[in-house]
């Protein structure tokens, strides 16, 4: 049944306006089953497999024992599902601590960034202040400055303020947000001015207007910014890498580097896959449910938007 639906819909897209005699149409449909499967389905299956196989292999390997990792005779499934790699990861490195640090840094960092973005965007759209356009262009240009170029001066500044191996040292330098400001400014600009003017007449201040009117109406855009920010904070690597040397302060990606150094050699692959699962799976889960927002946020500003 499902094949029939697929077949007919695919036929429809491939031959627009193909409205000839009924008999010929059904013959045409039959002839198109094979091309539909080859041309329509096969590429999609290949695409999904190319992405899913490495990630699936990561998950399966993380449950295998060392003897099943160091072997020339590969098996797909673990002989006996074992959590040994996970306990080993938590034993050789403070993985629980890495996880908590990542959660903490992501939560605080993303919350502050989103709040800053909301308030900045509101000010840029609805508040009159001098040199507004110049400041907006400066924010726009900051969007283009890669953080990698800024790490050495920021390191020297933060280290000079005794910020090495501190949470604030990890979080503060990346708090300024150009991306969120830019995206929310676009969303806020599309709001009808009359709505806000009515509120102004009612005597509502800027903060009241922002929280009671603007934020509820633009919630999807804010969710987009929040999700993209959370994901990028979680994955952030180069800055936490240089600013932390104490394992107790490391985030997951940095901790994985430590794990990689400790577990060098093929025997460590199982443990490293367990570590990779811990850093990858939460993002994958969030992405699976909210991919529409994340894709929209990450491809914002493209020709298609």
């Amino acid at each position: 049944m499902s094949l029939a639906t697929v077949k007919s819909s695919a036929t429809k897209t491939e031959t627009p306006g193909g409205s000839s005699a009924p008999g010929r149409v059904s013959a045409g449909r039959r002839r198109r089953i094979l091309p539909t499967i080859l041309g329509g389905y096969l590429p999609l299956v290949v695409i999904v497999l190319v992405v899913a196989v490495p990630l699936g292999w990561m998950i399966l390997s993380s449950f295998k024992q060392v003897s099943e990792i160091i072997t020339l005779d590969l098996r797909l499934l673990p002989q006996r599902w074992s959590f040994a790699n996970y306990t080993e990861a938590f034993r050789t490195a403070p993985f629980g601590r890495f996880f908590l640090n990542s959660v903490l840094v992501t939560t605080i960092g993303a919350t502050v960034k989103v709040l800053l973005a909301i308030h900045t965007a509101y000010a840029l759209v609805f508040v009159r202040f001098p040199a507004k356009n110049v400041i907006f262009v400066a924010v726009l240009v900051a969007l283009m400055v890669p953080p990698q170029v800024a790490i050495l001066p920021n390191y020297i500044l933060i280290a000079g303020m005794n910020g090495l191996n501190t949470y604030w040292g990890i979080i503060v330098p990346s708090l300024g947000t150009a991306f969120g400001t830019f995206l929310l400014r676009q969303a806020f600009r599309s709001l009808p001015i009359s709505m806000l003017e009515a509120a102004e007449v009612d005597g509502a201040g800027h903060l009241a207007r922002l929280w009671r009117m603007v934020i509820p109406v633009t919630a999807p855009s804010i969710a987009t910014v929040a999700l993209v920010t959370i994901v990028s904070e979680w994955n952030e690597y180069i800055w936490p890498l240089i600013i932390t040397t104490d394992p107790n302060l490391m985030t997951l990606p940095v901790g994985l580097t430590l794990l990689q150094n400790n577990e060098s050699g093929p025997a460590g692959y199982g443990v490293m896959m367990a570590g990779a699962v811990i850093v990858i799976l939460p993002v994958l889960a969030v992405f699976a449910f909210l991919q529409r927002y994340i894709v929209a946020g990450l491809t914002a500003g493209t020709a298609s938007n």
Binding site: K12, V48, W57, M58, L124, L152, N235, M273
Partner: protein
């Protein structure tokens, strides 16, 4: 209400740009109390050393192959996704997923896959009767390995942007082309591809920009920077590796920044005018 954000952007985005230029004129070991001013000395040292050739060539090869690879494969994937076949949504989400995953995690997973003895790839090659190349020992192979993984991780972005481009192609033009009896291939080559020009140009610039900033995968997959001394990685290794050459590292960062800002200006001045926002 916007002031904190402006202050933060100023302090941690703009200030470093200026400080980098200042640091790049110093002969200074990171953490050392004394530094001597050497003017353009660090730049001269970089461009006259053997490293410059290696680093600039590696950066160029990495950029060309990752950009070419992810755009070409991205376009092919977009064409495959541009159907109404069931499961298209799943495939679309799948192809984009690696783009949002931690580069460190992804790098570790692929290191295991590429392992010349115990990796899946070696296993498959053995089944076909060949030995796995020694990915970890040969500089060229290491670079190839990182490029393959980078393309795997990033092609989804190109695919989704191209897909959006394909779906916004004017229906009347496409219909006219098919009524004229043009074959699928000819329609793609003579109608779709030229119409996708602005999308291609946009992707070209943005993917070059992100390729020049690639760090996570390179650091994890080639910790000794064997074969992968790109500008960004060289700046990191020189500044935060064994030598802690802050001034020299800053000079390389400034060189990288000049490349990036040039591309950004090209994008703003040229591409944005051609890309149609709708």
């Amino acid at each position: 209400m916007a002031l904190p954000n402006f202050v933060l952007i100023g302090a941690f985005t703009y200030r470093p740009l200026i400080m980098n230029i200042y640091y790049s004129t110093l002969n200074w070991t990171l953490g050392s109390a004394s530094a001597t001013i050497v003017g353009f000395g660090n730049y001269v040292r970089f461009f006259t050393s053997d490293a410059a050739g290696v680093v600039l060539t590696t950066t160029a090869i990495f950029a060309v192959l990752t950009v070419g690879g992810s755009m070409l494969l991205g376009l092919l994937v977009a064409l495959a996704l541009n159907t109404k076949v069931r499961g298209q949504t799943l495939a679309r989400a799948s192809v984009f997923a690696p783009y949002v995953l931690s580069g460190v995690g992804v790098g570790l997973v692929w290191l295991f896959i590429f392992d010349p003895v115990y990796g899946v790839l070696a296993y498959v090659l053995r089944r076909f009767g060949t030995e796995s190349p020694r990915w970890f020992n040969d500089p060229t192979l290491s670079l190839v390995m990182v490029i393959v993984v980078y393309v795997w991780k990033n092609l989804g972005y190109c695919a989704i942007v191209y897909l959006a481009g394909l779906q916004s192609l004017p229906a009347d033009v496409m219909e006219a082309a098919s009524l004229d009896g043009a074959s699928t291939l000819r329609r793609f080559w003579h109608v779709s591809l030229p119409l996708l020009g602005p999308t291609t140009l946009f992707l070209l610039i943005t993917t070059i920009l992100s390729s020049l900033q690639a760090f996570d995968l390179i650091k994890i997959m080639t910790p000794t920077s064997q074969g992968t001394r790109t500008l960004i990685y060289e700046a990191y290794v020189q500044g935060f590796g064994a030598y802690q050459r802050a001034g020299y590292s800053a000079a390389i960062s400034v060189i990288l920044f000049v490349f990036l800002i040039t591309l950004t200006i090209v994008q703003i001045a040229w591409v944005d005018r051609k890309v149609h926002y709708s």
